[in-house]
Amino acid sequence: MTAIKPRAKRTGLYLGLGFLMVVYLVPMYMTLITAFKDPADINLLTAWVPPLRLHWRSFTEAFTLLGPKFLNSVILTVTATAASTVLGSLNGYVFSKNKFRGSEIVFTLFLLGMFIPYQIILIPLFQVLRSVGLYGSLFGLITAHVVYGIPIVTLIFRNFYDQIPESMLESARIDGARYFGIYRRIIFPLSIPGFVVAGIWQFTQIWNEFLWGITLTREEAKPITVGLAQLAGGQAVSWNIPMAGSLITALPVLILFVFLGKFFIRGLLAGSVKE
């Protein structure tokens, strides 16, 4: 009796997990089959039926429409991610290894920036970018992402540097290394995983962002999320192109997620759980 029961339990567990996995994959299944269908075959009644042959035309059509915005998003995401991780690494070094009187308060004040609903800063941001001539351009958008990324990347790097033992810094100090020498010789070389975690986090956030994309840029500088919303908006669209567009928009972050999932999860937890 005792030999069978755990086994039945185990089977139940896998059946449950398998069912949930199917449920979570349904939207992806629907997207894939719709994107690969011959547009003429798309109708609501056969929505669940997979295509017999793969048609790539929807992808080329979607990419012609999204291409320039895809490029905008690449430039925006790469630049802003690079700039904010460098800032975050330096800040993290201060808040973790060079605490001074009041540094905890300053750090807490920084953190507020990652929890605000961004509507609260949108109007002044819009006005300031306009008055300095950055409104509408990609550079204005990059500025916004770098500035409002400071809190989370600082937090990620601080948590990361907290794990580097003080004794390592002490031995470098005995060897005569000073403030920036320690950063260059000890901290920075150990930071690669920190840069990966913070970089993936920022890349995902910036690539997926929409509110600033739609309010702070003109047509020629709009990111891909805005492009997809335009593509899929309106009522008379055929669904193959929005689905192909969704896949194109999702692809860069999905690739990152599949190959560097572990770091992605660490970034996810960094914002809340103490490592």
């Binding site: 929505a47 201060v94 509507q119 008055s131 809190p151 997926n208 509110l211 999702a250 997620f257 914002g271």
Partner: protein
């Protein structure tokens, strides 16, 4: 030697301040300065329809914009948006926490291929709300997608309008809004009072009991008072409630973020010492007992963090609503969508700022205590 060390420390502090100075200035202006500016703008008329002027001559109007938002005839949609925001937050929280905990408990049992399962449950998190919104709009199309699923099993297809339903349940009259808020607060304080009073005595409990008793009493007195004078915020009844059209958006959000809570809870469960589980088993506690009495109570601080992050995300629902229902669909509205329409379509910056401030205040209710708590923990106070 010691003096030199002291000097070195001071030099290091100066270097530290110089390193964080650029970030400090940027945060100071772009976060704190801008919040202050938005609050100020919300107290003005933005030069009365100066619209897109770069430097409008603003006139101070006090709380007029807020009075308009809460009681003005033309802002009825904002009030429904506010009610929607509460329901969005509650249902998204309940859904993601419940489902996330279930997934974490399933994966906590030394499952084979757990990396595969984790990847599948988490991939929605990597998507933009615009991507998931576009996909779910297709899945929830009125005469296709999910509604066709029953036909696979030979049943009738569903007719439910996931995003475009016009039905509302749990309606209440906005005229009674102050009373309802007071009653809810009083019930909460009374519950807290009972909980503290019935719990085991601790050093602080007497002070706490007194505090909650005073708050509960004040609440109920105000309820009676308001009931007696029958103060009405509107001259006419205005029903608001839970719009069923928000269900489709809630489902999409839960699909997208339950993987996040799963990851949080799983980290918490796996962080528990292995010995606890063993000794619970030896004591004869089954799986259910182990989770209910031992594991879940230990997840309290993780749940708190998850609630903070998810509430923040639920205020970011703008993208998802925009992609699934469009900004103009009043049934699925949200203050963030309204803020966008009011500010950037109607060019009514002052009222838009008012909406933003109300959203900020709601967020601050959770965030400020959370930040103070985390500061105290870090500083070891």
């Amino acid at each position: 030697m010691r003096a030199q060390h002291g000097l070195g420390r001071r030099a290091d502090t100066i270097k530290s301040i110089l390193v964080i100075l650029p970030s400090l200035i940027l945060i100071g202006i772009f976060v704190y300065g801008f919040i202050g500016n938005t609050i100020y703008v919300s107290l003005t008329d933005w030069g009365r329809g100066a619209g897109l002027a770069e430097r409008p001559v603003k006139n101070f109007v006090g709380l007029e914009n807020y009075v308009q938002l809460f009681t003005g005839f033309i802002h009825a949609r904002f009030r429904q948006d506010l009610v929607n925001a509460i329901f969005y937050t509650l249902f998204v929280l309940a859904g993601t926490l419940g489902l996330g905990l279930l997934l974490a408990m399933l994966l906590d049992r030394a499952v084979r291929a757990d990396a595969l399962f984790k990847t599948v449950f988490l991939y929605p998190m990597a998507l933009s709300f615009i991507v998931s919104g576009t996909i779910w709009r297709w899945l929830l199309a009125p005469s296709g997608g999910i509604n066709l699923l029953p036909t696979v099993f030979g049943a009738e297809k569903w007719e439910f309008l996931w995003i475009s339903s016009r039905d509302t349940v749990l309606s209440f009259n906005w005229q009674r809004f102050p009373q309802i808020v007071l009653i809810v607060l009083s019930v909460i304080f009374t519950a807290l009072l009972l909980r503290t009073a019935l719990a085991r005595k601790s050093v602080h409990s007497r002070k706490r009991i007194l505090r909650f008793a005073a708050l509960a009493l004040a609440g109920w007195l105000l309820v009676l008072l308001f009931g007696a004078i029958r103060e009405k915020v509107l001259p006419y009844p205005e029903p608001h409630g839970f719009n069923l059209a928000t269900l489709g958006i809630i489902i999409a959000a839960v699909w997208q973020y339950s993987g996040y809570t799963m990851a949080m809870f799983l980290a918490g469960l796996q962080g528990l010492p292995a010995g606890i589980r063993e000794s619970a088993r030896i004591d004869g506690a089954g799986e259910i007992k182990y989770y209910w009495h031992i594991a879940i109570p230990n997840l309290r601080s993780i749940t708190f963090s998850a609630v903070i992050m998810l509430s923040h995300i639920s205020l970011k629902m703008f993208d998802l609503i925009f992609a699934m229902a469009g900004a103009d669909n009043a049934n699925t509205g949200h203050p963030s969508v309204n803020m966008y329409l009011t500010t950037f379509r109607a060019n009514n910056f002052a009222v838009g700022a008012g909406i933003a401030v109300i959203m900020f205040m709601l967020a601050a209710l959770l965030i400020i205590p959370y930040l103070i708590h985390s500061y105290r923990e870090r500083a070891g106070l």
